[in-house]
C-alpha cells in the first residue's frame, strides 16, 4: 500500500511527462540509496494547528509525511503510532506546537525574471523568496527574455528549477509570439512541455480580434487565459493612478476606467468563446463589480488581487517613492474597500503577489522613468493576516483557501495540489501566527529590494516550508 502511495504521489505531479522535482530530490535518492531498498523516511509534524480548507479541516493534530507524500492527519501524538508499513522506517519528529500548518501556499502570479533578467531575480533566489513567504508552488509569467513563447524556454525553466529551486515552478506561456500582440504562440506545444496557462501580462493585448482568437485557441486546449486588463491608449505615459494625488504631484495618470474597459471587453469575449478567463491584479471597484456581475450571469471567469491593492492608496506615491509605482497602480480608498469586499464575498478568488523584482539602480531614478513593480512573496501572508484576517474581513480558512486550493483549481494545477489530503505530494507551510515583525528590505531572500512595505510592522510569518517532503529552512 505504501508503494502504491509512493507512485501515485509522483503521478500526481507529472506535468505531461515531465516530473517536476525540487532542489535536493535528485540528490536525495543518491544520498539515500536505502530508498531503493524500501527504506522510508518519515516526518511527523506534531502538535500544530492543521488548517486545510480543501478538506474543511481546522484542528490540532499531527501531520504524517512519508518520503515525498502525505500519509494523513492524526490526533496529536497518534502519528508516531501509525505502523502500516512493513519496511524499515527512519522517523523525524518536528515540534510545531503553537504553529499553523497549512498546505504549501501557491502564488499563480509571479515574475522570476529568468531567463534574461537574472540581475533582478533568478529561479534560485525567486523560489527562496517564495519559501520565505510560505509558498511551495509558484507560476511564473512569460515576460522574460526571451519570452516563454516556445517549449524550449518552458523546459529551460523546469530544468533549472529542478537544479536550484526551493519551490515548484509552473511556467505560464505567452499568448503571442515574443509578446508582440500579433501571432499566436504554439500553445499546444507550450502546454505539452509544461506551461500551466496562457497570459498577456505586461503586454496587454489591445486588439479585440487578437484577444478573441487567443481565447478560442485557449478554449480548444483547455487552458486558462490570464489577462492584464489595460487599455493602453487611455493610460499612455501614465505613471500612477489618475486623480487628485497625481494632479498635485504633476504626474500623468492612468485612469481606473482603462482597466474597467479592458475587463468588460475581455469578459464579453470570454462569454462568446467559452474561454476560461482569469483577471489579473484587480485594482478598481469597477472591475470587482464587473466580475461580480459576470459570475452572477454564469460566465466562467475568475479574478485575483494583490496585497498592495487593499493595503495602500496612491497617496503612497507622494514624495515620488518609486517603490510605490506598479501597474496597475495603487488607487483610492474606495477601490481598496471594494477589493476587500470582493475578497470577502468570494467575487475575487485568489490572493497573489505579482512579485516583480527590479534592481535598485533601476528604481532609483525619476518617478516617470522607473519601471513598474514591487516584490511581494515574502510579505503576502503577513499582509493578508494583518489587514484581512485580524480585522475580521476574511476568516483564516478563507484566506488560506485563496492562497492554496482555490488558485490551484483556478489555474488548472493537477489534482492533489494545494491540499494536505492523504496521498498528496507533501507540500506544507508552517507559520507562526503570533510573530510580529518589521519588514526590512535589506533582509529579504529576493535579489531585489523594491518594496513599499519597508519598516511596516506586520503579524504572521512563515517558519519553514516542506516541498515534496523536503524541509526548506532558510
Amino acid at each position: 500500500m505504501g508503494r502504491t502511495h509512493f507512485s501515485l504521489a509522483f503521478a500526481s505531479v507529472k506535468v505531461h511527462g515531465l516530473t517536476v522535482k525540487v532542489h535536493g530530490l535528485n540528490s536525495y535518492s543518491e544520498s539515500n540509496p536505502e530508498m531503493m531498498q524500501e527504506k522510508r523516511l518519515r516526518k511527523i509534524l506534531t502538535g500544530g494547528r492543521i488548517l486545510d480548507p480543501s478538506q474543511n479541516i481546522d484542528r490540532l493534530g499531527d501531520l504524517l509525511i512519508e518520503d515525498d507524500h502525505i500519509v494523513g492527519i492524526f490526533a496529536v501524538g497518534e502519528a508516531a503510532r501509525n505502523t502500516n508499513t512493513q519496511s524499515t522506517v527512519e522517523s523525524e519528529t518536528i515540534d510545531v506546537r503553537g504553529k499553523l500548518v497549512t498546505p504549501g501556499l501557491i502564488d499563480i502570479h509571479v515574475h522570476l525574471r529568468e531567463p534574461g533578467q537574472e540581475y533582478k531575480e533568478d529561479l534560485e533566489t525567486g523560489t527562496k523568496a517564495a519559501a520565505a513567504g510560505g509558498f511551495t508552488r509558484v507560476c511564473c509569467m512569460p515576460n522574460t527574455v526571451p519570452a516563454i513563447d516556445t517549449a524550449a524556454v518552458v523546459r529551460q525553466i523546469l530544468e533549472r528549477t529542478a537544479q536550484v529551486g526551493s519551490a515548484h515552478v509552473h511556467p505560464i506561456g505567452a499568448a503571442t509570439q515574443a509578446m508582440q500582440g500579433d501571432q499566436l504562440t504554439e500553445m499546444a506545444e507550450l502546454k505539452a512541455s509544461g506551461a500551466i496557462a496562457i497570459s498577456d501580462d505586461a503586454y496587454p493585448l489591445q486588439n479585440a480580434e487578437t484577444v478573441r482568437r487567443v481565447m478560442e485557441y485557449c478554449a480548444m486546449l483547455g487552458l486558462v487565459f490570464m489577462t492584464h486588463n489595460e487599455d493602453k491608449h487611455l493610460t499612455e505615459k501614465g505613471a500612477m493612478n489618475e486623480g487628485y494625488t497625481a494632479t498635485v504631484m504633476g504626474i500623468a495618470g492612468m485612469p481606473r476606467i482603462a482597466e474597467d474597459i479592458a475587463v468588460a471587453r475581455n469578459i464579453m469575449l470570454a462569454q462568446l468563446t467559452g474561454c476560461r478567463l482569469h483577471l489579473l491584479h484587480i485594482s478598481t471597484a469597477g472591475t470587482v463589480e464587473l466580475l461580480r456581475r459576470a459570475k452572477a450571469g454564469g460566465i466562467n471567469v475568475t479574478g485575483e488581487a494583490c496585497p498592495h491593492h487593499w493595503a495602500l492608496t496612491d497617496e503612497a506615491c507622494m514624495g515620488y517613492d518609486t517603490d510605490a509605482k506598479m501597474n496597475p497602480p495603487l488607487r483610492t480608498v474606495a477601490d481598496c474597500e471594494a477589493v476587500k469586499r470582493g475578497l470577502a464575498d468570494g467575487t475575487i478568488d485568489c490572493i497573489v503577489t505579482d512579485h516583480a523584482p527590479h534592481a535598485g539602480y533601476e528604481k532609483e531614478v525619476e518617478f516617470d522613468a522607473a519601471p513598474f513593480g514591487i516584490i511581494g512573496l515574502e510579505t503576502s501572508f503577513a499582509l493578508t493576516y494583518t489587514h484581512l484576517v485580524k480585522p475580521g474581513i476574511l476568516d483564516l480558512s478563507d484566506a488560506i483557501a485563496k492562497m492554496t486550493c482555490i488558485p490551484a483549481r483556478t489555474i488548472g494545477l493537477p489534482e492533489g495540489t494545494g491540499t494536505l489530503k492523504s496521498g498528496a505530494l507533501a507540500d506544507v507551510a508552517i507559520f507562526d501566527l503570533e510573530k510580529e515583525w518589521t519588514v526590512d528590505r535589506n533582509a529579504v531572500q529576493s535579489k531585489s529590494k523594491n518594496t513599499p512595505f519597508h519598516s511596516m510592522t506586520v503579524q504572521g510569518k512563515a517558519d519553514f516550508t516542506i516541498v515534496a517532503g523536503q524541509v526548506i529552512r532558510l
Binding site: 504631484m249 504626474i251 495618470g253 515620488y320 525619476e366
Partner: protein, 312 residues
C-alpha cells in the same frame, strides 16, 4: 528652510520673508552698478534638462549680482548624453563642491529626488508639470506691488492648467496668501479632480475671469494640439485668447500677467501684451521681479544664516 522645491510645502512665513527680501533686492537690481558681495565665494550650478534661456539667465544674473559664481550645465552638452543617471550627475555636482544646485527637469519630482540624495540646497527651477516656485513667488511679488494686499483678490489662471507647473505653484502660493483662485481652461486641459483643489474651476473664459483682479495667462504649448487635446490653436485662441475684448469681463483695473515666452496672437493678443489702451500688463516687470526673487532665494539658501542683513 533648506530647499526651495515647491510652494505647496513652503510656509506662509517663508513666502513673506522671500517677498520682503526680494522687495529689498529690487533696489539693487535697479542700480547702474548691480553688484554686492553678499554671496562671494559661493558657487551656484544650474542643471537644466530642459531648454530655458530666460529662467537660467535670470538665476545667473541673480547669482552674479550677489558675487556668487554661476556655472550653467545644460543637458545636451554634458555627460548625460552618454547615459549618466540623474543620481550620478547630481553626486558629481556635489563633489565639485557646488553650494547650491538650481534644477530644471522634464520629470516631476526630480528636485525632491535631488534633495533626498544630496546634502546641499536645491532650488526647483521647474520640474515637469509639478511646480516652479520662483515663478510663483515673482507672480506674487508683482501682484503685491500693484494691489498692495494679495488677500481677498480674485486671481484667474487661464490656459493649459493640466500641464502647467506655473499654475500649480501659483495656486498654492496665492491660496496661502489668502487670494481666491480660479482655474480656467478647456476641459481637455484641466487636470483630473481639479475640483478637489482649493480653487474654482471653469471651462468658459468669460465666466472664469468675470470680475477678476488678476489674470495670469499661461503659454499654450503647440504640441497639445498635435496630441489630440485641442482641435486647433485657432479654436483655442477664439475661446480662451486674452484680448482687449475678452478682458472686459474682468475688473477695469485688472492686472495681466504672463510667465513668458508669449505666443502673441494665440493665448494673448499683442495689444494686451503691450499694455495698449490702458491695459495693465506687468509682463516685463515680472521678469525684473524674477531676478530679485531669485536673489532672495539664493540668499536664503546659500547666505550665511547668522547674518540677517543685506550688505549694500
Amino acid at each position: 528652510m533648506k530647499h526651495l522645491l515647491t510652494l505647496r510645502e513652503t510656509s506662509v512665513d517663508d513666502i513673506r520673508y522671500l517677498l520682503d527680501t526680494a522687495t529689498a533686492f529690487r533696489e539693487i537690481v535697479a542700480r547702474p552698478i548691480k553688484k554686492v558681495p553678499t554671496l562671494r565665494g559661493r558657487a551656484m550650478i544650474t542643471l537644466f534638462y530642459e531648454n530655458s534661456t530666460r529662467t537660467r539667465t535670470s538665476f545667473e544674473m541673480a547669482a552674479k549680482i550677489m558675487s556668487a559664481e554661476a556655472i550653467n550645465i545644460s543637458v545636451a552638452q554634458s555627460s548625460v548624453v552618454k547615459g549618466e543617471s540623474l543620481k550620478d550627475t547630481l553626486l558629481t555636482l556635489q563633489a565639485l563642491r557646488a553650494d547650491c544646485i538650481v534644477m530644471r527637469h522634464p520629470c516631476s519630482g526630480t528636485p525632491e529626488f535631488a534633495a533626498n540624495h544630496l546634502g546641499i540646497p536645491i532650488i526647483n527651477a521647474g520640474d515637469g508639470r509639478h511646480e516652479h516656485p520662483t515663478q510663483g513667488l515673482l507672480d506674487l511679488l508683482t501682484i503685491r506691488q500693484h494691489k498692495q494686499d494679495i488677500a481677498g483678490l480674485t486671481v484667474a489662471i487661464v490656459g493649459d492648467i493640466a500641464h502647467s507647473r506655473v499654475a500649480r505653484s501659483n495656486l498654492w502660493g496665492l491660496t496661502k496668501m489668502g487670494a481666491k483662485v480660479r482655474l480656467v481652461g478647456p476641459r481637455t486641459l484641466l487636470p483630473p479632480d481639479a475640483d478637489q483643489l482649493p480653487v474654482e474651476v471653469f471651462d468658459d473664459l468669460r465666466t472664469g475671469i468675470e470680475g477678476a483682479d488678476v489674470v495670469n495667462v499661461l503659454r499654450l504649448q503647440t504640441e497639445r494640439q498635435e496630441r489630440g487635446l485641442l482641435p486647433s490653436l485657432r479654436e483655442y485662441s477664439r475661446l480662451f485668447g486674452i484680448t482687449p475684448h475678452s478682458l472686459k469681463a474682468a475688473k477695469p483695473d485688472v492686472l495681466v500677467l504672463h510667465p513668458g515666452p508669449m505666443n502673441r496672437g494665440i493665448e494673448i493678443s499683442a495689444d494686451v501684451a503691450d499694455g495698449v489702451g490702458g491695459i495693465r500688463s506687468a509682463i516685463e516687470e515680472q521678469v525684473t521681479n524674477g531676478v530679485a526673487i531669485r536673489m532672495a532665494a539664493l540668499y536664503m539658501l546659500m547666505g550665511a544664516s547668522s547674518s540677517g542683513s543685506v550688505e549694500a
